[in-house]
């Protein structure tokens, strides 16, 4: 007997028992899930970050340069002291600086410039055909931006145009919500599959 599958099956049923009402069996399964997830993440981070990237290279391979990140890491803990708390600003400044330095150019190009350039499409194609989807993108983009333009009161043309923007947003939210429902159904179907195949052996 696969005891792992039995345990997983019983815990699945324990979690779904919440649909009836909150109960101790559900609470136990929920606490177990949270505890295991945190424990697993902690062990994985300890192994891959602290041991693999710091302890082994520094103490086994003598990579002395790693003393610098070790000290910077330890300085983070100075926040617990009122007297030495200012020391934590140094590694924080380094992290924010390095993070912003690598993120800003990449995000500006890929998330902003590339997206903007793709939003601006010719309304008439090279073959002389009318590009309807290009028009939809153009109206959708401008009207949604108009909705978030707060420097003028939303009256007259601006008000009507911003209203069109809300319809575009509603379509987006509706599609996203629909996909999310689909995603949650898939998760439920996945558990049903597990219960019927691995747990109950009803299906192969």
């Amino acid at each position: 007997m696969d005891w792992g599958a039995v345990a997983a099956g019983l815990l699945t049923l324990a979690i779904y028992s919440f649909l009836y009402r909150d109960n101790p069996v559900y609470k136990f399964a929920e606490s177990l899930l949270i505890g295991l997830s945190i424990g697993y993440a902690l062990v994985t981070f300890w192994q891959t970050a602290i041991l693999d990237k710091l302890v082994y290279p520094l103490f086994s391979h003598g990579q002395l340069l790693l003393i610098v990140p070790l000290l910077l890491g330890l300085m983070m803990f100075s926040r617990f002291s009122r007297r030495l708390g200012w020391l934590s600003r140094i590694p924080l400044a380094l992290m924010i600086g390095a993070g912003a330095g690598s993120a800003i150019p990449a995000m500006l190009y890929e998330r902003t410039l590339r997206q903007v350039s793709n939003s601006i499409q010719p309304l008439v194609t090279a073959g002389g055909q009318f590009n309807f989807s290009g028009l939809v993108v153009l109206v959708g983009l401008l009207s949604t931006l108009a909705y978030f333009y707060f420097s003028r009161e939303h009256k007259g043309f601006l008000g009507s145009f911003a209203k069109i923007g809300t319809y575009f947003m509603m379509i987006f939210f509706g599609a996203t919500f629909g996909y999310t429902v689909m995603s949650r159904m898939s998760t439920l179907i996945g558990r049903v599959d597990f219960l019927l195949t691995d747990f109950l052996h009803y299906l192969k």
Partner: protein, 268 residues
């Protein structure tokens, strides 16, 4: 019926609809979306023994949706004799990725270290993505099992992204966005995505701009891929349940609206 009983009835009915429709086996032809076709065509067009990174960038909770996608894509890769470098940018994806790779590799008689390898997890995913562009060995000196990359035959000659034909990111969040942002312009990597359905609208702008080469989204995407490969699996089976559940929910929405308007009319 009070609200509590209505809720229980809905839950029980939905569960029954899904179970019954899952047990029924139907053979049906699923039309292929352009994005799934593009993913298939890309893997078909890669020369044999191309290096492909498969990154398991998801948590255990999204396994029911991601697993059919990862299974069918890995089956395609292994059947085309591509070499797979597995890794994870999510701690929870590590064990899942390793198990999935071993299971699928065994199906096709692939050997660890020669046909595929699993590098494991690296925290600080942006540093990992950027670092691998300089040197994969700097980021992952050892694989998941503790073998040095220099001693793994598959990794000989693999220095950085220049030797990688494509990256397949299996994600339930925005990790694929980071693959796009930090490797797109600098390294020009071809990135394929395998996503949960909830993330499809997030990635649509990247798909239409071409920053993301193609995507396989949710159970439907996996079922389409299974259809092209001619290997109907769990996604194909789940699709009937998915459809039945959606129809049931639509009927509930209609019934709810009718009840609401009736009550409002009666109140007036």
């Amino acid at each position: 019926m009070n609200n509590q009983k209505i809720r229980w009835t809905i839950f029980a009915s939905l569960f029954a609809v899904i179970v019954v429709s899952y047990i029924i086996t139907l053979k049906w032809r699923i039309p292929t979306s352009p994005s799934v076709q593009k993913s298939y065509d890309l893997i078909e067009s890669l020369p044999p023994s191309s290096m492909v990174i498969v990154s398991f960038d998801h948590e255990a909770s999204s396994l029911p949706e991601i697993q059919p996608i990862s299974y069918i894509i890995l089956r395609h890769l292994f059947s085309r004799n591509q070499r797979v470098i597995g890794m994870s940018l999510f701690a929870e994806g590590t064990a899942i990725g390793y198990q999935t790779l071993n299971k699928l590799a065994a199906e096709y008689g692939k050997k660890y270290g020669e046909d595929y390898v699993f590098l494991g997890f690296k925290p600080q995913h942006i540093s990992a993505i950027l670092g691998m562009g300089e040197s994969i060995r700097q980021v992952f000196p050892q694989d998941y099992l503790g073998n040095y990359l220099a001693e793994i035959p598959l990794m000989s000659g693999v220095e950085n992204y220049r030797q990688i034909a494509a990256v397949i990111s299996l994600a339930d969040g925005d990790r694929t966005v980071q693959w796009i942002e930090y490797t797109g312009k600098k390294h020009g990597l071809t990135i394929l995505g395998g996503f949960t359905a909830a993330m499809i609208t997030t990635y649509d702008p990247y798909l239409s701009s071409g920053q993301l080469y193609s995507a396989v989204g949710g159970i439907v995407g996996a079922a389409e891929y299974e259809g092209i490969l001619g290997l109907p699996g769990k996604a194909n089976r789940a699709l009937l349940s998915q459809t039945a559940a959606h129809i049931f929910i639509v009927l509930l929405v209609i019934a709810g609206n009718i009840a609401y308007f009736k009550r409002r009319k009666g109140g007036k």
